[in-house]
Symmetry: C2
Subunit: 200 residues, 2 copies
DNA sequence: CGAGCACTTGATCTATGTCAACGGTAGTGG
DNA sequence: CCACTACCGTTGACATAGATCAAGTGCTCG
């Protein structure tokens, strides 16, 4: 968990009116700021909230199709901070010039509740199954993943990064995760590794 | 976690068109059934989903103001099973005869996301703080709680009931939870105890 | 009375946390 | 170019919170 003051120095936030592509690890917006609501068109977004101690702590995930930041339309400020866990694409919401249709809002509400249940499941049970749960979520439809940092995975699953490191190594040795050093387009950070899932 | 076949034998579900009061522990509806969507007007509801293994596993909480079961309006069946963690009151949703206004849906979406973050927080950190977190959630606005069974608390916080028992006893001895045997109206089960929070 | 359920408590085990050392890869500045 | 710092990741040794197993209490219900 980084201190807010540190996070605030990161000025790479996205805030314009058109569709946005963002790369792994990138910060999208911060709690307390003004801004738009977005639909996650591609990828997985990590949401954090400001804990009583003033640090950012993991709050939830949003994946393809989910709406994030809609609090701004009610309160004029984001409740959560958002960052990209995988490559992702955001489009401003509500879409086009039409009013948010209650049909689509109802769908969003239902899928938000489903998502919540999935995230809750990532924080229960044994370490291996939590990590695999997250990997499956990240890999959904792709079966190729660039994993977030061990620290990110640790905060999402409520484990320690050393544990995550050991778990992932174990999965590699068991040939369940098959690493491939990234050479091409996707590699944004030196330590990025592309994994395929042997048994998705 | 009980098997579905066992749970299905419980026929005490609520399903009529008017406001419903339900007492602690009562089952409200089951995943897969048809039924209405509800607004939780009072109390706290536990939602479970059917895990891969076929058992019911804790999915989320809904508290005063939240909308539950709205999936039925889209899919014709509940995704989750619901049961009352505290005394609670449900009103059919959408309210009255009006269409679900997109304003109120937007609010519901935002508060669902907030709720998700709260539930996630109940599954991280030390045992004591998880339990206290839940107790505070249950006691919000009342500072008097009838706790759910240790087993319920255990499933919500991803701990074991023996651990919950030890934690609660510890909090009692530290005078943070002040037990009072229930005599009156609220006691629905022999083992119910009313707690006040010393430092809410 | 016996069976069932919720709870308590002790003894012991273990998965995960904690601490610490080390390697690889930028990036920065002299 | 090299030294230096800052991350990210791996691995070992050891500590511990919580899990597991087991026994026992009190209450209710038939």
């Amino acid at each position: 968990m980084s201190l807010i003051s540190l996070v605030d120095r990161n000025n790479s936030d996205k805030a314009c009116r058109s569709a946005q592509r963002c790369s792994v690890g990138e910060s999208l917006y911060h709690a307390g700021q003004e801004g738009l609501a977005w639909r996650v068109a591609q990828g997985v977004v990590r949401l954090d909230m400001i804990s009583p101690g003033g640090e950012l702590s993991f709050a939830s995930l949003a994946i393809s199709g989910d709406i994030i930041g809609c609090e701004t339309m009610l309160f004029g400020a984001y409740t959560f901070s958002a960052s990209a866990l995988t490559q992702c694409e955001l489009t401003p919401w509500p879409e086009g010039n039409k009013d948010p249709a209650s049909e689509s809002l109802l769908q969003s509400l239902a899928s938000a509740q489903k998502r919540a249940a999935e995230v809750v499941a990532l924080r229960g049970g044994e370490a291996v199954s939590r990590v695999m749960g997250l990997v499956r979520l990240l890999a959904s439809e792709t079966d190729q993943v660039v994993l977030p940092t061990r620290q990110d995975i640790a905060e999402i699953t409520d484990l320690r990064f050393e544990t995550i490191s050991r778990v992932i190594k174990r999965l590699e040795r068991a040939q369940i995760l098959l690493p491939r050093k990234l050479t091409g387009i996707h590699a944004t950070r030196s330590f990025d590794v592309d994994f395929s899932l042997a048994y998705p």
